[in-house]
Amino acid sequence: MASLFSVAALIVVCVTTMLIAFYGLRISRTTSDFYVASRTVRPWWNASAIGGEYLSAASFLGVAGLIVLSGESGLWFPIGYTAGYLMLLLFVAAPLRRSRAYTIPDFAQIRFEDSALLRKLTTYLVVVICWLYIVPQMHGAALTLSIATGLPGWVGPIVVAVVVCVTVLSGGMRSVTFVQAFQYWFKLAALVIPTLFLLARAIPEHAASERAQSLSTQLESVTTMNMYETISIILALLFGTLGLPHVLVRFYTNPTGSSARTTTVIVLCLLSAFYLLPTTLGVLGILYTPELGAANESDATILLLPGRLLNGVVADALTAIVVGGAFAAFLSTTSGLVVSLAGAISQEFFNGTVRGFRISTILATALPVLIAVLTSSLALAGAIGNVFAFTASTICPLLLLGIWWRSLTAKGAIAGLLTGAITCGLSLSVGIFLPTIDLWWVHLLRQPAAWSVPLAFVVMIVVSRGTRRAVPQNTDRVMALLHVPDPSSNS
């Protein structure tokens, strides 16, 4: 019964997503439409789409899971995701929009016309980051589907991959914008409804009895992370958001630089509203499903809570709603990533044609599915946190210094990117295999952002200083392009 409901919800989400994509197909006609929705997307649409794209498996399932797993420390993740957007607003939103760069490699090329190597390197980094980001979505899909319906784990990733391919191939960016705007509101609803029902059940139960007294003891009993790890995660999330390829693509669909800022402020509101829900559910999870934290299955918290607190048809229906919302999360984030990944691959290898974009889309989806089926899940929010640490140590310094520092040189940028990628990548991959013991060097390896981000910045600055004769001649003009306000925003 429960699985029937969930399968129905899953089918509804997938079919609706594809229908909106087909509807978008009728509108998109030119190559420009196909890539970036011709930049006619209104701030509210665009903000909903960004919210829809950004709220991934890590946000939908992972945040509550982390709160169950590490208590108070888990609360830092949604704060970091939101504050990361503030950083994006402060340093990147308007200049990046004005640069007319569609992808990060485009930005690198606009800033350093002569350096084909830098463009190539950023392309490869974008590809790696996108793949690292898609794999947890696929893991989330596998987990959700096998918990809700009992189907084998590989079905979830395949479903996500097929729907994403159909969506992206049929309509490109325009339809993806519609799909994602729809999916933000769907995800919000898919958490609001269960949260209200569960609170209505839980609050009377707690207020009446002495269980209320135990609430705070239970909240305090969960073991938290140590201070270095927490600060490192805060840094990774704050600076990592700046470099997320699928987030940056979105800014191209704003008509002007100042509308890019308006959009970002709306996104901040949408994200804040959303994150209150997984936080609430996480607190309920500590009360009702604490054993999941011990069993390292905390990502399933939101899926299991309705069944734990309620029974009968209501519980089944609520679980189905959550399953639908979770799939909306996997689909929207994955399609956003696939669009920017396919954009990067097709411009690098297929001269940016629509046909090249289609081939790249298939390539972009196939490999993560394979990886996801072959590997097993880490804690979702933790895995995504690692990707943030990686982008914070690579793309973030390139963007920040590229936008704000005229003395950056291509050589400096390349050196910094390589340093960040190698040190952060190595220490993360070593850190995965280390046991969680309380030694300072283990902490440094498991959460490298606090040292690898400053290191990448320092290398970029020092090498640029050393090669100061190589500052491109057109730097002043590029800087003016990035920062001079758009004439149209005057009115």
Binding site: T82, Y102, D114, I231, L238, S258, P472
Partner: protein
Amino acid sequence: MQNPEAEHHSQPDSSPVNNLPGRFAQQRPQRVRVQAPQDASLSVTRQPPEHTAEEFYVRQLIRSQLRLACAVAAGLLALLVGICSLLVFWPVVSDIELFHIPLPWWVLGVGMYPLIIVAGMLYTKAAARNERRYRSISRG
């Protein structure tokens, strides 16, 4: 700039916003690659910066925008790290409770978001003010 080649661009208009390569700026069938002369990096011995008024105003604009962004970011970072260390070094705050939920949970779970939104709104206003000032100066 003494080198006229470096200034040459494929697009005829000369405003700073329009003379750089934008992939999809216009619906072109193929991208027109704009490149600096191949020997540019060899021939350039750091040229003295141009001191046109326009250039100066742009630099001023960039500086004021950067200062603003850094101020907000530093405030945010200080706040976050501050709260984090407060919780570690002064755990007594956890004894304060509201509806049986410890204070840090309220601060982190609910209280931070309005702050972030307000910071974003204030920044947007201030950044637009900087741009208005630039426009009025550079046109007047």
